[in-house]
């Protein structure tokens, strides 16, 4: 069961990577305007 000592930190690292990716997305303004993109995608020609 000592595999847990490797897998658990790995899982936490992966979760941390996910949080960092989200933080990057938020800081680069991906979630600033959540209304317009919904309309925009309908109109692309």
């Amino acid at each position: 069961m000592s595999v847990l000592y490797i897998v658990v930190p790995l899982a936490i690292l992966l979760a941390g990577a996910g949080v960092l990716a989200f933080a990057w997305a938020a800081r680069s303004g991906q979630f600033d305007d959540v209304d317009s993109p919904a309309e925009r995608m309908l109109h692309d020609d």
Partner: protein
Amino acid sequence: MVANAGPLNAPQTLRRAATARTSCRHCGQIVPASTSAADAAFCCHGCETAYAVIRSCGLERYYELRQNLGDTTPALTSDRTYADFDEPTFRSLYTRSSGGVSRCDLFLHGVHCAACLWLIERLPRMVPGLIEARLDLRRSIVRLSWDDSVVALSRIAATLASIGYPPQPARDRKAREGRVREDRRQLVRLATAGAIAGNVMLFAAALYAGMFDAMDPAHRQFFRWSSMILTLVALAWPGRVFFTSAWAAIRTRTPHIDVPIALALLAGGAWSVYTTVKGEGEIYFDTVSVLVFALLAGRFFQSRQQRSSADEVELLFSLTPSRARLVDDAGVRDVPIEALTPGVIVEVRAGDSVPCDGVIVEGDSHVDQSLLSGESRPVRAGRGERVAAGSVNLSSVLRVRVESTGEETRVGRLMRLVGEGASRRAPIVRFADRAGHWFTLGMLLLAALTLCVWLAIEPSHAVDHAVALLVVTCPCALGLATPIVLTLATGRAARRQMLIRGGDTLQSLSTPGIMVLDKTGTLTHGRLTLVEWIGPAAIRPLIAALESGSTHPIARALARDLAEPDAPRTPRVDHLEQTTGAGIRGLVDGVNLVVGSVPFVRGLAADPHALAERAGAFAADGLTPVLAAINGTVVALAALGDTVREETGSTLAALRSRGWTLLIASGDDERVVRHVGQSLGFLAGECLAGQSPEQKLALVEGLKSRGKVVMVGDGVNDAAALAAADVGIAVHAGAEASLAASDVYLARPGIATILELLDGCERSMIVIRRNLWVSLFYNVTAAGLAVAGMINPLLAAVVMPISSLTALGVSLRSRTFGDRP
């Protein structure tokens, strides 16, 4: 030719009938009969320009898109060159450049729907050199990036104006960017708290499963330490907001809901760290980390709501013009408004807003002062008379000597009153905060009691039980469910075109009080229409043709309401001659026609049918009479008025039956107000006429001693009263700024929506009360179990989310505004 053949001896009264008319190709509104080209299908010059520009760029699909959405307004184009947008001062203030590409945020007027988004983002096709235009639909702000060597910002701005979206620099960029940054920070904190809560719950599940199997003690400790490290991260970073706010509350001795929350987090966290390090005893890391996440989520919803209203306050800036045309020895120059000093002369073209308070030194025109006075009729303004900033010059060029500018103008003072009204508004002590105060005290006493009792019974478990009590009674439903109900209710209301600011408004509107109603645009349509017509029908198209040559509001109403919908041809008008403030004359199809005020027409024509006397009777009823004379004989009488909306009567009756006390306060003329009031069942004492904005404010302040005052009004003229009232409801479409002063903005015209609003508020309060009872029930039960020593971490981890989920479920499933989701 036709006119003289009409039955002149038997003047007849005809009610205005609603008829199908040509609608504008650009904005879809009804086109007034025109003397120009027969195929003209535009309601105004602005729409015609916009249509031509859009077509020439092959973007007609805009009209297809918009038809599906059915939401239109006339284009507000202007002849401004926007040369000031290229000046160095403007550039240093509003634009940023890097690598030959410049960026600028512009606030656009007239953005209303998804079709606007489509059109504006295709702007790079119309303007070579413009790289990108991204519109933020909710804030009406477009972010432009363009190549400086190819195109100037003034050209982009002029193109935007030509398609009906006059731009203005988005002025308080710093405040807006600050809000955006705070928004992003909150999102990141929420995501971190969520990820930690999820992982700690997984460890907890493993530990609970391990309780029943024999778990290797080393693995058990490993999971406990992992949970601890993650939870400490959650407490130290995303959860820190609760500790700082609780600490501030303790220091200022104003206890609120964050105090018991911080207490629960601290007790649960500290005790769990102690037991983890010690290697035995209960841990509450999962409960604590889920609490942090759930409470942050509630807080995020709440602040998102508050931010959108802060965005709306920015619209206040766009009300008064930012530029003025200064007249000096060198001629007329376009200068920023800040450059004006008292004593200088400015020129105000027809159609422009007056930039300052001042005295007219040259020119003779009509001004629309509805912004300030609410007076629906335009006022004549000649040399020596005063005009106020924000009023619109309607007919001809004026030169005005500046007396005061900016904050010192009437409109500026009004804005300041609005600001003061907003900050003076006593912060309604939120029920949850008040409850939190007693709750904290109660929990502390109960925890102390538990500790004492268990020290006597079984000292080894005393601290454990006291901590369990604090954790499990954390007022989660208060902290989470109430903001969610408020957010959901305001969100659903917004979808039904009722914009509500803040939760206290919902509470205030759930019980009856005193309601003060403005007249123009609230109870009535807010524009002149033909109400009575006495005279031969045959001359109606002739008058319409004559009046369509003028932009005066009375002329526009006549041109619109007298035109024949299916006339094969428009009568020909020659020798058109206008007398400002009196009337208009001309040769229509060879007939000498005079239309205008009673004294003007009587001075030029005989009156064999005594129509002037009947005109006097109409005037006494608050209508505006207009006489028409053909070849020197008065033949027709038209009376114009601002008619009461169809649904007003039934809405007022329903409000009265709910126990509301109603009053009318209007800036309009005594006769007009009395006439409208009587027709709607108001007593004479309940109709207050000739009220200036300052008087309305005083009225509202005075009434507040008698109970809760709700002010219903439109535009900026009511802004101070709207802000001073316990609840201000703005109802007039277009007066966006009134939202800055009011608590509620009803986008649908008329007051019928108020009933729906009151219903929704009442139901929302019922849901909130139900939530409070549910959370009280949980907390009392859980506290009882904890005192009895029956709560272990597993039970706490199960009960705590169930209580939040129940409150959440009740909130989501409840009907507040409109139908069930």
